[in-house]
């Protein structure tokens, strides 16, 4: 007898991988809490982070920002200032009929890092008279990106690592610098978006607000957000290297920013600034506005975390909801894990059955219609026949009448002819007899004269 080839000695005939996993656990000498072992020398796997980073550099990065805010708040200018480049486009008009989302992708490179940056702008946000549906197109857009990724992930033959990720990693919400409080449109939109995307609220064109008003404004905004349960993105504080700076920055939200691509000479340097008759607002001066903080947080410190949160929190939530909506569950009432495949098969059969039923219905309706049409046509045909018959009869009657008339006419003609011949005969007879009479008469006449 050939020695039986057992696998971990306890799973003959078991096909479910869960059971085999249990068997492997038996074979594992150290379980989940693997014991720590000291190294006696330099092994070299401390180069792993470098290897990982190198691979990512070769692959390139992608980052997608969504800018939500009313027209004219300086969204495009801020993007230009943040990334130090001129993205194209003229300022949009205010007469858009609905909210549209315009997306542009750019390839930026800095030292050896290639970044595929996608900036999505909301065009026409807040311009309509009835703004009830403004947020809908934004939510739909975000969901579409999630859907595309989900479809790719669920494909059988998939290419995830070369897939261009279009999911929105950060949403910059531009608040108008009124100085009072948030508009209701802002609150509604942010509430709808907070579970789908990382929201970073910023106060746009903040050079319109004085310093004291600004502090009050910020406090008001934060308290309104909290009281309405809007969850904005919090910079992560679990990694010690950046915990401190992130915690401080969390306190400065929302950032009051000023954007400008024009350069002004201050001292002996050219700086990005906005020049007014009463002074110059320097974009990169921390006393003037929070632009530097925003750039620091958004790009230099937390870009990776934004991407990760999008993938592990927002996308997973979307995926879970979507799959549950389709009726897939992880466990059935008996607590046995459902295989997605089985559920799919069941759903598919159900769906095919429905489809067939609908097809049948359609077919029957079609047959019905055809019958009706046929009957109609027959009716029409019959009518036509009848009409034809009628006309024919009419025609025949007329013909007969005409023939009768003709006959009578002919008869008359004949009669007349006969009379004529008779009369001529008479006349000729009379002429012969009267020929002499005429002569006589002529002689008489002559004699008379």
């Amino acid at each position: 007898m050939t020695p039986s080839l057992l696998y971990a000695a306890s799973c003959i005939g078991s096909s479910s991988p869960k059971k085999t996993m249990a068997a492997t656990e038996i074979a594992r000498q150290a379980g989940e809490g693997a014991r720590a072992v000291p190294l006696a020398g330099h092994v070299g796997f401390d180069s792993m982070p470098d290897q990982l980073v190198n691979k990512s550099v070769n692959h390139g990065f992608c980052f997608n920002i969504l800018c939500v805010g009313e027209t004219g708040l300086g969204k495009s200018t801020l993007m230009d200032t943040l990334f130090n480049t001129k993205f194209e486009g003229e300022p949009t008009q205010h007469n858009q009929p609905g909210v549209q989302l315009k997306s542009n992708t750019y390839e930026l490179q800095e030292s050896n890092v290639r970044l595929k940056l996608t900036v999505v702008n909301t065009v026409g946000f807040g311009d309509q008279i009835n703004k009830e549906d403004s947020y809908k197109s934004i939510v739909e857009f975000i969901d579409t990106q999630f859907e595309a990724y989900l479809q790719e992930e669920l494909k059988i033959k998939r290419t995830l690592h070369s897939y261009h990720d279009t999911r929105i990693h950060a949403c910059l919400y531009f608040i108008a610098p009124t100085g009072h409080s948030l508009k209701s449109l802002d609150l509604v939109t942010m509430k709808k978006l907070d579970s789908k995307v990382n929201i970073i609220p910023i106060i746009a064109k903040s050079d319109a607000i004085s310093k004291s008003e600004l502090t009050k404004f910020k406090i008001k905004i934060t308290s309104e957000l909290v009281s309405n349960g809007v969850q904005i993105y919090q910079f992560p504080t679990d990694d010690e290297t950046v915990a401190e700076i992130n915690a401080t920055m969390n306190g400065h939200l929302p950032f009051a920013v000023v954007g400008s691509t024009e350069e002004v000479k201050i001292g002996n340097k050219m700086v990005k600034a906005r020049q007014y008759p009463w002074g110059t607002v320097q974009v990169e001066n921390e006393n003037h506005c929070d632009f530097v903080k925003l750039r620091e947080m958004l790009i230099r410190v937390n870009m990776e975390d934004l991407r990760e949160q999008t993938h592990t929190r927002h996308y997973e939530l979307y995926r879970r909801c979507k799959l549950e909506e389709m009726g897939f569950k992880d466990t059935d009432p008996d607590c046995k894990p459902f295989s997605l495949q089985e559920t799919y098969e069941a759903k598919r059969n159900e769906f095919m059955g429905e489809l067939q039923k609908k097809e049948e219905e359609m077919r029957q309706m079609f047959v019905q219609r055809v019958k009706e049409k046929e009957a109609e046509l027959k009716e029409a045909e019959k009518e036509l026949h009848e009409k034809f018959d009628r006309l024919k009869k009419l025609h025949q009657d007329e013909k007969k009448k005409l023939e009768d008339k003709k006959k009578s006419l002919d008869d008359e003609l004949n009669g007349f002819k006969q009379k004529k011949t008779a009369a001529e005969l008479l006349q000729s007879q009379a002429q012969q007899a009267g020929g002499s009479t005429t002569l006589k008469r002529d002689k008489e006449r002559k004699n008379f004269f």
């Binding site: 020695p3 039986s4 080839l5 057992l6 696998y7 971990a8 991988p17 085999t20 996993m21 492997t24 594992r28 720590a36 330099h42 070299g44 796997f45 401390d46 792993m48 982070p49 980073v53 691979k55 550099v57 943040l82 130090n84 001129k86 909210v99 549209q100 989302l101 997306s103 542009n104 992708t105 750019y106 390839e107 930026l108 490179q109 800095e110 197109s137 739909e140 859907e147 059988i156 033959k157 995830l160 990694d239 290297t241 950046v242 050219m270 990169e284 530097v292 620091e296 790009i299 410190v301 990776e304 975390d305 592990t312 389709m326 897939f328 992880d330 495949q341 598919r348 609908k358 049409k373």
Partner: protein, 360 residues
């Protein structure tokens, strides 16, 4: 996809090939101050590094070979710690298992702040029976089970934040140093397993071969691998670009590595080195003039570890996934989606055309 009634969406890619702002002038000395043209995009590398350090890494290596070829010793030498327990002899019955077992041992190791969960999967009993038919089956089953477990986790609705990766990244196959050629068992095993896992063949106990014997042995092995169509790591078809190919060609000219393992230190020329002491001299493990252990270590750990993991997850695992999803699906074509996502309305269209009778 739902139709947008009030909004129109259009995407525009501006100059995908040429960057919009080519080469923003270099890094500032103190990022965040001074240099106004520095955006800070390259700080993402630092962010990634931090994240990686925090999360730690996982590596699963399987060692396959007859007993007595020094598998455990080599593992211990590679990772400079007792990660693998040598099969110590107590009784002869215990020494040679009657069946192939798969033993998986995990350790947490840390070096310069980088934490790694190393799992060494041992296969005692491989090739030790008299009749070794199908001895690769339990091993293939184990590897496929790991893929299956990962797949199940991945298609869960409620999934973990980080799916624990127990897939075998690399399989080191030990070739006995006969000096002649590969045995049929070696060829069979490597042929089957190179399709599901990255195989790194090594010549075990290479201190029994002289340099000439070693070179001719390696040559024979390489030819036999080529003749049998066995693609060992680094696989030719996965070379990404010219640089990759150059580096990998150099490696391919050296495989299989002739290694010697040891966890004993000896005094050589005033230094304490790992080696094997014999009457005719001391073989230094990390000396590339003596054996090729250093190359193996560099390949596996210092330069290609990430690449090995990537090939496992994006190629071998995907192949398994396609096969698995296709066999339960019953679809011949791999282009269908696992789940039907299109709502019913979409499928009314072809039926509607039949009902164009409405125009009558």
């Amino acid at each position: 996809m739902s139709s947008f009634k009030t909004s129109v969406m259009f995407f525009r890619c501006v100059n995908m090939s040429a960057p919009q702002h080519p080469h923003l002038p270099g890094k500032a000395a103190t990022p965040g101050a001074g240099d106004f043209s520095y955006v800070g995009i390259d700080a993402i590398l630092e962010q990634m590094r931090r994240k990686a350090m925090k999360q730690g890494f996982e590596l699963n290596i399987m060692v396959v070979g007859q007993s007595g070829l020094g598998k455990s010793t080599l593992m211990n030498t590679l990772f400079k710690s007792k990660v693998s327990r040598k099969s110590l002899v107590s009784t002869p019955e215990e020494r040679i298992p009657q069946t192939i077992e798969i033993k998986s041992i995990s350790h947490d190791i840390e070096e310069k702040g980088v934490r790694m969960k190393l799992t060494v999967i041992d296969t005692p009993g491989f090739g030790d029976q008299i009749n070794n038919e199908n001895c690769w089956q339990p091993i293939m089953k184990f590897i496929n089970d790991q893929y299956e477990q990962y797949l199940q986790e991945e298609i869960n609705i409620d999934r973990k934040k980080r799916i624990p990766d127990s897939r075998v990244h690399c399989c080191i196959y030990f070739i006995p140093p006969t000096g002649h050629c590969l045995r049929p068992l070696d060829v069979e095993f490597m042929r089957r397993l190179s399709k599901v896992v990255n195989i790194v063949p090594v010549i075990a106990k290479a201190d029994t071969l002289t340099l000439e014997e070693r070179d001719s042995f390696k040559q024979t092995i390489r030819e036999e691998l080529r003749a049998n169509g066995i693609d060992v790591y680094p696989q030719k078809e996965f070379d990404e670009d010219a640089d990759d190919r150059m580096i990998n060609e150099k490696i391919r000219e050296m495989i299989p590595f002739a290694v010697v393992g040891s966890d004993q230190e000896y005094q050589v020329n005033g230094k304490r080195l790992l080696g094997r002491k014999t009457k005719w001299g001391t073989i230094e493990v990390e000396n590339i003039a003596h054996c090729e252990f250093a190359y193996l270590r560099d390949l596996l750990i210092r330069t290609h570890m990430q690449n090995i993991k990537d090939i496992t997850s994006s190629i071998h695992y995907e192949v398994y996934r396609v096969r698995r999803l296709n066999e339960t699906n019953g679809q011949p074509n791999g282009q269908f989606s696992v789940l039907l996502f299109f709502p019913l309305t979409h499928l009314h269209c072809p039926v509607k055309q039949q009902c164009g009778v409405e125009q009558l």
